[in-house]
């Protein structure tokens, strides 16, 4: 009888040990925010939570750039990109919008504020490209035709409706590489854009 009791106790102990691992794991993966109530009383129901999701292009590929035979006419290579307000939660669309700005990763106000792609093996080889927030670059000016006035970047688009998508164009004028010794500039190039978003009053 004593032996039976001991076995029962041992089995119970083993079960407790096993289930405590599950509880521990469940606690770690709990996604409920416990701060919501406190925050609601102070500012708004969304403080500390995700209020919106913006989808940005992770990479934009100009593909293969070709050195033109002349530079008397433009030789544009255009690539479309999209920025989308994938989700908006609790925005007062009458008075507020989500404003998105864009800049080159190395841009600064009052300094160099254009967009560049740079040779991956030679940082001294950089070529400028233009960013448009429309799909008709021939009849509009590029964002970087103007000076960048804010550190967060050029004003790209304002969103106030979930699902809204802005389609723009990145334009590389292949005349930029005209006249170079192709063996000196050949290689892979990359440039990085930084998208800044914030909720602002209209």
């Amino acid at each position: 009888m004593k032996a039976k009791k001991l076995v029962t106790l041992t089995l119970a102990a083993a079960m407790v040990a096993a289930s405590s691992v599950s509880v521990f794991a469940a606690e770690l993966t709990d996604t409920d925010s416990t701060g919501q109530t406190e925050v609601k009383a102070h500012i708004s129901g969304n403080a500390g939570n995700v209020s919106y999701i913006i989808t940005i292009p992770d990479v934009i590929d100009f593909g293969e750039l070709t050195q033109p035979a002349d530079n008397t006419t433009d030789h544009f290579k255009d690539v479309n990109y999209e920025v989308k307000a994938t989700k908006i939660d609790g925005l007062d669309a009458q008075t507020q919008s989500i404003n998105v700005y864009v800049r080159d990763q190395n841009a600064s106000v009052g300094g160099v504020d254009d967009f560049f792609i740079t040779n991956k093996n030679n940082a001294n080889l950089s070529f400028e490209y233009s960013v448009f927030n429309t799909t008709d670059p021939d009849s509009s000016s590029a964002l970087n035709d103007n000076n960048m006035l804010q550190a967060v970047g050029y004003n790209l688009h304002s969103f106030d409706t979930e699902g809204d998508t802005m389609t723009g164009v990145l334009r590389f004028n292949q005349n930029n590489i005209y006249g170079y010794d192709i063996t000196q500039i050949a290689g892979d190039y990359s440039g990085y854009m930084v998208f800044f978003s914030t909720i602002e009053n209209k």
């Binding site: 032996a3 076995v7 599950s22 770690l28 701060g35 708004s44 292009p57 978003s197 914030t198």
Partner: protein
Amino acid sequence: MVLVIIIIACFASAAVLFFFQKGEEQPPEKSKGVVGTISDNWDTNVSDPEESEEKRPGTQIPGYSSAVMKSGDTTLKLRIGNPKDNHVGMFAKLKLADGTVLYESPLLKPGQGLEEVPLNKTLDKGEYEAIVEYNCVLLEDGTTPLNSAESGFRLYVD
């Protein structure tokens, strides 16, 4: 003798069960800060589950309206993470507009994030312009940079 065998069998079963469970539930990665836990099934809580079924092009970046804490707090309730639909890695950095860095995360894979952020320093009472920087990288190597994003919001310290 039989009793000893039964006890050994019980402990062996418990050990096997423990290791199996450990394999299924990955322990969370500790953040660089003093406290704070990165969970493996972090979600923005605003994603549409139906839309989440397929992986779409582009990288989802969480944005915020505001956050609140008390002066002297060493943590901030702020949902920082990499939405599960993404196919890139992210390094998240919480900072003030003046450049003061409050928190830097390790690599966050899709679906990983924090509910509460450990802070490198406490803040005095006031209103601050704060930013969460999301530096995106190729998931395959965790280092090749991609386009990045910043979410600006107002931080209120009581």
